[in-house]
């Protein structure tokens, strides 16, 4: 009796879990709870704990934005961009150069154009998008791995360019500008969030946070900034979600699944790829701006290839192709891999007294000969922040080996405008695989890889199913296509290969 009630509740919970919003809230909530507990163990006061959570929110929001943009490139269109850091750098540097006052003022600073912040941000976003165009126009003809090498080389060109002394200070069209070279740029313009901070209502926000958490004005501002970032993240999520479910988005998925087939249905795939690459790069630029435009300054060091690597881990944790997965992925990446090891170290430090570590690895390993592991443990502990990067690398390897689809990548977000889930048992008639909708997809694309070529009857029925609301499509697919998705995850690698044989079946 109770077992059926439990089962009922379980199915209820499971159906609740199907909602993406629930997934995001649950995961982020769990992260908050864990970090609040960590704060308690470390003996933080309330404002310290809330501040920790605020920092997590800030990082998750920023990484989430970039991961969403990368998902647009790789998850939806199959563009293998590993030059993310370069586009972020362009966005931030252009914005800062536009916003910095024309009169350098201080000694070691460089002049900017002194434009108002909104215009500077638009300038940065446009510049990042244009950079994407410059890369995409020629490079899209290349194979995926060559494209990857081109993008990372571009990112390095950008980084070396802003590091070089030659661009430290230059004059363009009579205006003096400068990237600051290796020393970077200092923010000597007003806090860009002043638009909000100077509002009447903001002072009551400060009072509120003061009475709730004991925050000072600086912390209240930081909190407001993080909240703004979350709102922007939600906006980008909405934008990309809309894009991916529009006819435009369906063409993108079709390109990812089989570019030649999309071409054969009359889609100018190169045009689509260029557009989406530019859009993604512009969003990366925006994320780069929001990431650091409020800080005291920026150096080129901030845009080492590491950043790209972080974003890729976040994307792969969440599962390429899923926007919800991108946000979950960046949440888990920040909580477990990025911030986790540091907090773990602090907690251990708090709970156990760990003595002085030996200076070198030799000093740590030597005592092992006499069966004394203590120095090695101490050394490991002291060098924990180095090991953190090793852990990240190993995590990526294991993910690629065990779960290349990440958390939600198994969802087949098909390129069809209609749900392909429930198939009527009636055998299909003569309608072709591509018929039935104005989009490219029809039935075949997402499945063409996972299904045998001779499986004609299935393919043909796809065209005849009634159209349902597009909004629930991902969820229904999720459940009803389990049997296929297990196959699909195995062979999804082939999806990115050029697979000539599949196109023949499509263009009947």
């Amino acid at each position: 009796m109770s077992s059926t009630a439990n089962a009922d509740r379980r199915t209820q919970l499971e159906s609740l879990w199907e909602h993406d919003a629930v997934k995001i809230i649950a995961v982020i909530g769990a992260i908050y709870i864990v970090y609040a507990l960590i704060g308690l163990i470390l003996g933080y006061s309330l404002d310290g704990i809330v501040n920790t959570l605020r920092r997590m929110t800030y990082l998750i929001a920023v990484y989430g934005m970039v991961t969403l943009a990368l998902n647009l490139h790789w998850g939806y269109t199959g563009l293998f961009n590993i030059g993310v850091a370069g586009f972020m750098a362009i966005g931030l540097y252009v914005t800062m150069m536009l916003a910095k006052p024309a009169d350098p003022g201080g000694a070691a600073q460089y002049a900017g154009l002194g434009l108002p912040m909104p215009i500077a941000i638009i300038g940065g976003v446009v510049a990042a998008g244009l950079a994407g165009l410059v890369v995409a126009l020629p490079a899209l003809r290349l194979r995926a791995d060559y494209f990857a090498i081109t993008t990372i080389a571009f990112a390095e060109i950008v980084r070396l360019g802003i590091t070089s002394d030659a661009l430290q200070q230059f004059t363009i069209l009579g205006a003096e500008l400068g990237t600051g070279g290796g020393r970077g740029l200092i923010r000597n313009y007003d806090d860009p969030m002043n638009v909000i901070f100077q509002l009447e209502i903001f002072s009551s926000f400060v009072d509120l946070t003061n009475s709730l958490f004991g925050f000072g004005p600086t912390q209240a501002r930081a909190l407001a900034y993080s909240i703004v970032l979350v709102i922007v993240l939600a906006g980008i999520y909405w934008l990309i979600q809309r894009t991916s479910r529009s006819p435009f988005g369906r063409v993108l998925k079709a390109i990812r699944e089989d570019e030649e087939a999309a071409q054969s249905l009359g889609k100018d795939t190169n045009m689509f790829k260029i557009k989406v690459f530019v859009l993604g790069c512009a969003l990366m630029g925006l994320a780069g701006i929001l990431w650091r435009f409020r800080r005291t300054g920026v150096t080129p060091e901030a845009f080492r290839p590491h950043v790209t690597f972080y974003i890729w881990i976040a994307l792969i944790i969440g599962g390429a192709g899923s926007n919800t997965g991108s946000i979950l992925g960046s949440g888990l990446f920040v909580a477990v891999l990025f911030e986790g090891p540091q907090y773990l170290r602090r907690v251990i430090d708090q709970l156990v007294a760990i003595g002085d570590a030996p200076n070198t690895f030799a000093g740590a390993v030597g005592p092992l000969l006499s069966a004394n592991p203590v120095p090695l443990v101490r050394y490991t502990f002291a060098e924990f922040l180095t090991l953190q990067f090793v852990i990240m690398g190993v995590a990526l390897i294991l993910l690629m080996q065990r779960r290349p689809d990440g958390l939600l990548g198994h969802r087949e977000e098909t390129a069809a405008a209609i749900p392909l889930g429930a198939r009527p048992s009636a055998a299909g008639g003569g309608s072709g695989g591509g018929g039935g909708s104005d989009s490219v997809s029809g039935g075949g694309f997402a499945h063409s890889q996972t299904r045998d070529q001779n499986d004609d009857s299935d393919q043909q029925t796809d065209g005849g199913i009634d159209a349902e609301t597009v909004g629930t499509q991902a969820d229904t697919n999720d459940r009803s296509e389990d049997s296929e998705s297990s196959q699909g995850s195995e062979s999804s690698d082939n999806t990115y290969q050029t697979d000539d044989s599949t196109t023949d079946g499509e263009t009947q």
């Binding site: 020629p138 490079a139 081109t150 060109i157 030799a362 953190q388 690398g393 080996q401």
Partner: protein
Amino acid sequence: MSTVDDVVTRGRSLSTEQLLLIAVGIGVVLLVGDLILGVLDGSYSISRIGRYVTEGVLYGLIMGLAGIGLSMTYSILNFANFAHGDTITAGAFIGWGGTYLIAGWGAAGLGHLALVGPQRGLGGPQLGISITSTPVAIFAGLLLAGVGTALFAVLIDRLAYKPMRGAGGIPLLITSIGVAFALRYLITFVYSSQSRGTTASVPSADLLLVDGYVSLDAHDGTLIAAAVVLMLGVHLMLQRTKLGKAMRAMSDNKDLALVTGIPTERVIRWTWMIGGGLAGSAGYLMVLWTGTIDWQFGWLLLLLIFAAVILGGIGSIYGAIVGGLVIGISMHMSMIWLPGGDFTTITAFLMMILVLLIRPAGLFGGKTTA
């Protein structure tokens, strides 16, 4: 099936390619013309150009040597190995540990020596390590770098790549980025992130070149000799042995090779050993040549090696060698027009991107020789 549209797009892309080619051609002609005029009117001294070319050749030899391994794994295992740069670093550290142990035996603790002197005070210059004073230690270190890295590369393959042998090039590429990251910071964990000097100064010869001198020291000579010998060895091995033939067969058609009875798994193991061994040797020679070692020089070298390999044509070991030399020389020659050295790397990357756009198959037409 080619439709009218196809033909039109093909024609269009062909014309952009040709336009690019013409633009690059004009650029090259302009630069060469400027070079000749500059030399004639004396604004560019011949000895300065000679120095750039010498440095470029030395740098190019290292990239070519390291590029052979990258090219081999690319053509046989079908993926761009982003961990290759950190394999180079690992090899350099392994080899130099051996050199320190032999040259400094008794002068310091074993741990200190095996870890290439992580702490200040007692390093290569103090131990007097150089090809002239401690040749045995250098050769032993080079051998250790080669053999040690070969085994290490096989170990990495076993742990990281073997479980996903059937996967496509892109998942393997992403995995290799993870390997690169883990490896780089494992090196820091073991050897520390301190950058240190490794060699004492050696006698050098100044060669007269028209209006000045080009100096070559004993380590430059060692680098040239070792690189040429290793490259010849690889050439002979690929052309004369059964293994070489099997490798060529595998890079041509893996399934066919398997059907013919070629033990593909064993060939893959040998590919990693040869590629890793050459990478380790290249790293060792790089450190011998520059006289310093740090934890990320291999990673910084990686994209340049990619540039060299792509320029020569992926899959061709001769392409990798020629590509390395071309990239090395042009990087240094770029300093004639772009002084300061800030733009050498940028030059190399731009050349790579141009080659990818104009002739993705590379100079050697993508003919696989290994």
